[in-house]
Structure formats: structure tokens, C-alpha cells
């Protein structure tokens, strides 16, 4: 099926060329980083994780969100999602690949990465994260590819794929829970030391991932000769609305606990985020953009009239994606380090090479996503109309 990605319109080829260009720029600077060390980034002794790990955290959420399509379709027989579950699974694959790349480029000694498997430490959450992420990658790659191949050949998918699909549901929850535990179990970082971290991660994941999928569906409908169906898109929009509501609610719950209890150690981080602390307010503007965008998007998504309008829906989804990226891909990781355990405030400024490498990884992910969706559209072109190809549908239900 891969050969389908080799041909395409001029627009497709220009898009692919741009992605490759950005990817190469990122790779070039990654080679510089390998040579010089992580000092090429803005990370410091006090703020020892930056953009890379933040992107990783955000993208684990995007990956986990595939479950929002798989669960209604396979467990509740929600037929409208039949056409697009594969889109969700392939999005998960691209997102997990980006996650793995982001963790990898963040390592000081990448050549030694296999030490994690050579000397496994079951007490380390990072060890478990490596296991669940690679497992999730495998599960989604296999299910997405097998279903797509069977749709193409118009044969029922093999029987063994069904338990694998069911396994992917708890597994999706696990990847984001384990990722949250990386943060939530550290004694000295009061910003992260909260039991609501995993639920909060999942809520924002189930908003940002489906928002991206809606955007993809709208793009494919306009330019890709594939219609996911109005019913599926509207159902996704409702999922985004509720997940976003939960996400905003969880942030509010955190803020109540912190500001009503008035424990300085916990309060300082939120003060730094939304008000600035001792004259340092790098993230203040960002966080207010997050607040405004997420609430605006929520309002847009709960009003049925607005939600049904394609343009407004697209705008709302962009707002959801951007706002949650700010909250998780920027605010959550960096603020854990500010102020430091010794009370020092060190601001974090990502450097040019660091930003280019980050964009390079995003480009690699979008390259994968584009190729997957190109193949998907090609395959679906023949069997359009029925939810997932009649044969597939029969096997599942």
C-alpha cells in the first residue's frame, strides 16, 4: 500500500517537500546538539526539562485520544465512527513516534538508550513509560494497518485483531496515566505533586486529540476527496466539548486547592504562571491566551448552532488544540521547575537550535501522518459509502 503515498497532486508534493525541509533543518541542528551537548538548548541546572519533554507530554495525550474513536465504535457499536477509527489509530502511531523522538533527543547520552532495557528498573516510571509507549505504537500500527489492508482487499480482517483492538483501549489510558506518574510522584516538585495529574492529563488529551482529528476530517473533506460524515464530526465535536469542560474544571480544582489552602510552596508555581513571580513573568501572557482560548472554544462547542457551522467548528478546534498545547506543552513542564527547590527563579528561554529541532520532530510526525492519510484516502476511495467496508463491519459486530 505504501506506493500510494508516492503519487499525488502538486499541493501534496509541496506540503511533503516543506515537511522534509523542516525535518532536515531539525536534523542538522540535532547533529550540532550531539556534538556540543544539550547546552545548545535553553535548559539549565534549575530548569532541566524544556520544550522537548513538554512536547512529549502533550503528544502522549494526542496519541491516547485514539481511544475516543475506538471505544464508541468497537464497544458501543457507534457506526458513525466506523469510517474514521483507522484515522484515529494512525494519528496515534504518528503521535507516539513523535513522543519517542522527543524523549530520545532529550537524552544526554542517546547512544546508551538501550541501558533502560539492559538494566531494567521496575521502580522507575520512565522504564514503564518506555514499555507502554512502544507497546501502544505496536498495537496501533498493527490494527490500523491490518484493518486498512483488509478494507483494500475487501476481505474480513483476521479474527485475532479483535482482542488486540480491545487491548488498545486500556492501553491508551495507561500511556497517559504512566506519563502523568512521571511527574506526580516526585516529592520535591509541589506543582506536579497532585493526585489529579493523571485525570487532568486524560481530560486534556481527549480534547486535544479529537480536535486535531476534526481538523483533519474537515481538511480531507475539502481537499482530500474523503468525507468522514457530518454525524461523526459532530459526535467528535461533542467529545471535545465535554473533555475540554473536564479539563478546564480540573485546572480550576487545582487552583482552588492551591489558593484556598494558601500553602506558599504550592501557590508560587501558579502565581508564576498567571501573575508572574518576583518580576519574572515569561509565561503569563501565554497562560492568559490559554485561559481565553479554552473558554472561548468551550462556549463555541456547547452552542449547537455554532458547532454545526464548519468554519466556527474549525476555529474552535484550533483554539482547543493551541490552548491545550500551551497548557501542557509549555506551562506544565517548565513551571514545575520554577521556582527551584531552593527558591531560585530561573527563567527558561528555548534557543533557536532547540526550536528548530522541535519543529523538525513535529515535521517528521506530520510527514508520517500525511503519508498514512494519503494511503487511507486512496484505499477508502474504492469502498466509500459503507462505514468500514461491509466485510469489516460484519466481522466486528
Amino acid at each position: 500500500m505504501l506506493e500510494k503515498a508516492l503519487h499525488g497532486s502538486l499541493r501534496y508534493r509541496i506540503w511533503i517537500a516543506c515537511l522534509i525541509l523542516v525535518g532536515c533543518a531539525g536534523f542538522f541542528f540535532y547533529l550540532r546538539q550531539l556534538d556540543y551537548g544539550l547546552g545548545i538548548t535553553g535548559m539549565s541546572r534549575d530548569v532541566s526539562w524544556g520544550l522537548y519533554i513538554a512536547q512529549f507530554t502533550f503528544l502522549v495525550g494526542v496519541a491516547a485520544s485514539a481511544v475516543m474513536l475506538v471505544l464508541p465504535y468497537y464497544l458501543h457499536d457507534y457506526k458513525a465512527f466506523g469510517k474514521i477509527t483507522v484515522l484515529g489509530e494512525l494519528l496515534a502511531v504518528a503521535a507516539v513516534v513523535m513522543c519517542i523522538l522527543f524523549v530520545f533527543i532529550d537524552l544526554g547520552r542517546p547512544a546508551r538508550v538501550m541501558n533502560v532495557l539492559l538494566h531494567p528498573q521496575p521502580s522507575s516510571i520512565l522504564f514503564w513509560d518506555m514499555i507502554v509507549l512502544s507497546g501502544y505504537l505496536l498495537i496501533n500500527l498493527v490494527t490500523g494497518w491490518v484493518i486498512l489492508a483488509c478494507t483494500k482487499k475487501e476481505i474480513p480482517p483476521p479474527g485475532w485483531i479483535k482482542p488486540v483492538i480491545y487491548l488498545s483501549i486500556p492501553w491508551a489510558i495507561s500511556i497517559h496515566t504512566v506519563t502523568a506518574f512521571i511527574y506526580a510522584g516526585l516529592p520535591g516538585r509541589s506543582f506536579w505533586l497532585t493526585a489529579i495529574m493523571a485525570p487532568r492529563f486524560l481530560a486534556s488529551a481527549f480534547a486535544s486529540g479529537p480536535a486535531l482529528l476534526i481538523l483533519v476530517c474537515l481538511i480531507l473533506r475539502r481537499w482530500g476527496r474523503f468525507d468522514a460524515g457530518e454525524k461523526a464530526i459532530q459526535a467528535l465535536a461533542k467529545i471535545v466539548a465535554y473533555a475540554l469542560a473536564a479539563s478546564i474544571f480540573f485546572v480550576g480544582v487545582e487552583m482552588f486547592t492551591v489558593f484556598y489552602s494558601q500553602i506558599p510552596e504550592h501557590m508560587h508555581h501558579f502565581q508564576y504562571l498567571f501573575m508572574g513571580l518576583e518580576g519574572h513573568h515569561n509565561l503569563v501572557a501565554w497562560m492568559w491566551i490559554f485561559a481565553v482560548l479554552s473558554i472561548a472554544a468551550f462556549v463555541m462547542l456547547i452552542l449547537p448552532g455554532v458547532r454545526r457551522n464548519e468554519v466556527w467548528l474549525a476555529l474552535a478546534c484550533i483554539a482547543v488544540f493551541v490552548s491545550l498545547w500551551i497548557e501542557k506543552g509549555l506551562g506544565l513542564v517548565i513551571t514545575g521547575f520554577i521556582p527551584s527547590p531552593l527558591g531560585a527563579i530561573t527563567e527558561y528561554h528555548p534557543t533557536g537550535p532547540e526550536i528548530t529541532i522541535t519543529l523538525g520532530v513535529w515535521a517528521a510526525g506530520f510527514f508520517l501522518l500525511t503519508v498514512f492519510y494519503k494511503i487511507f484516502v486512496h484505499v477508502r476511495g474504492g469502498t466509500d459509502g459503507s462505514p468500514c467496508g461491509p466485510a469489516v463491519d460484519k466481522m466486528i459486530h
Binding site: R45, I125, F337
Partner: protein
């Protein structure tokens, strides 16, 4: 039977994957025949040993502007000076009393307390979070309590830096060697990309000498010893003096005691 190009690629891919098979599946006949005999001798005869190494810092003796312990430690351990706080590496440094002991000071505390600059080190915790989170076992706890770094194994993920509630760990953001004023050949430098910290001078204990900071302190403010030995000097001090540990409510069991 003819096989298609697709089948060929599948077989080639599957064969390539087998290269990732972990070493446990190596059959007996393919195993290495040369076995280096494990260490028969345990430690050098003159080595210092303890049930649990600990240190006291007498804040009544430690003077605010003295940096002898830092200089001695950093020279002996080849700690580089990059000249910027971003990449900074430090094993011992000094902080204000309020930073070291948040909450132990109030607005009316005397000038004497406010002027203190206690030295801070790795606490070589009894229950170290850094060891718990390390994905490779590069940082681990010895039976005598010292929290060690195996620079050979560290992958530079910096999870330990996030886990340490004392900010005791430093990352080599770049090659340290060019920035070391005078290299001490008896201790390795580190390479870029690994994390490092105070090791209670385990390399000196192995040869029968006390930690460099303890030796360098002219005020004799630092006492190093076995906290499990009731007759040790450190236990006598802890029995007779009032002591503080840093952020002890976190349950890490820090092994540096500050005497007031």
C-alpha cells in the same frame, strides 16, 4: 513456488528484527567462554567502612564568607567552571538560611540567623527519590548509605534532577574537560550528557581518608562518621546539640545534619 517482492521484504524485515533479540535468548554454545573472575578481594585494607555514612555541619562554626570546602571538593573532583549559571555544575555550594531551610525562619529572626550561609551538598538520603526514578540503575544506593552515580551507565534523562528535592544534581550540558582549571588525574572527569553530584568522597573513603571538604574545613565545622555507630563522634554531636535536616517532611531521610 514463486515469492513476490513483498514477501521478500517481509522476510528481510522479520530477519532484521531478530537482531533486537535480547541477550537472554543467546544459546549456551554462543555464549562468551572467557569469564573474568569476580572480585575476590572486597575492599582495600585501609578502607573506611560504616553502617551509614552521615555528616554534621556546625553552623556556629561555619563562617559565611569561607569557601574552603567548595574549593577543595571541586578541585579534587574535577568540577568544571563554565562561567555561566545555566550550565553550572556544583557539588557543594552555599545558600541563604531561608533557602536551605524554608519555613525555619521568620520575619523576626535575628541577624545571626539571616546572615548564615550554610553549605549544601547531596544529602545521600536514606530513601533517595533519585534512585527510585532512575531508569537504568545509574544512580544507586550502597549498603553504607552512599548514593552513587555510575557515570558509565547514565543516559542523561535528568529524571533524577527533577526528583531531587534539594537541587543537588548537575547535568553536564557540555564537555566539561576544557573548563577544568587543573585536572586531578586521580579522579575521572565526566563526559557531556551525564548527571553528577556529591558522592561523599567514596573514592577517598576506599583509600582510608576522610572526605575532602571535612579535611579542608579550617573551622572544623564538618564532622563525618557512622550514624549507626552509637559511639561515633557524629552520634555524640547529634545527642548533645540541636540539629536540623533539610525538608525532612518529604520522607527522604537526609543524612546531612545542621547543628545550631
Amino acid at each position: 513456488m514463486t515469492s513476490s517482492r513483498r514477501d521478500f521484504l517481509k522476510i528481510a524485515g522479520a530477519s532484521a528484527l531478530t537482531m533486537m533479540t535480547p541477550a537472554i535468548f543467546v544459546p549456551a554454545w554462543a555464549k562468551d567462554v572467557i569469564v573474568i573472575p569476580p572480585g575476590q578481594g572486597l575492599a582495600l585494607k585501609k578502607a573506611l567502612a560504616a553502617g551509614r555514612w552521615a555528616m554534621t555541619v556546625d553552623l556556629t562554626k561555619c563562617t559565611a564568607d569561607c569557601t574552603d570546602c567548595i574549593a577543595a571538593c571541586h578541585a579534587i573532583h574535577n568540577v568544571p567552571d563554565f562561567g555561566n549559571p545555566k550550565d553550572e555544575i556544583k557539588w557543594i555550594w552555599k545558600e541563604s538560611f531561608a533557602s536551605v531551610f524554608p519555613g525555619e525562619q521568620n520575619a523576626y529572626s535575628g541577624e545571626k540567623l539571616q546572615k548564615l550561609r550554610p553549605p549544601v551538598f547531596c544529602n545521600n538520603c536514606e530513601n533517595p527519590p533519585c534512585v527510585r526514578v532512575c531508569p537504568t540503575g545509574a544512580t544507586f544506593q550502597r549498603p553504607d548509605g552512599i548514593v552513587m552515580m555510575d557515570y558509565h551507565r547514565c543516559i542523561g534523562c535528568r529524571l533524577c534532577m527533577a526528583a531531587c528535592p534539594y537541587g543537588a544534581r548537575s547535568m553536564n550540558y557540555r564537555d566539561p574537560r576544557p573548563c577544568i582549571a587543573k585536572i586531578n588525574p586521580d579522579f575521572p572527569t565526566r563526559s557531556k550528557g551525564v548527571v553528577e553530584k556529591c558522592n561523599f568522597c567514596e573514592e577517598r573513603l576506599a583509600k582510608g581518608t576522610l572526605p575532602a571538604c571535612v579535611e579542608a574545613c579550617r573551622q572544623k565545622a564538618l564532622t563525618f562518621g557512622d550514624a549507626e555507630n552509637p559511639r561515633s563522634e557524629i552520634r555524640r554531636l547529634l545527642k548533645t546539640r540541636f540539629s536540623l535536616q533539610r525538608r525532612v517532611h518529604l520522607g527522604t531521610g537526609p543524612q546531612i545534619y545542621y547543628l545550631l
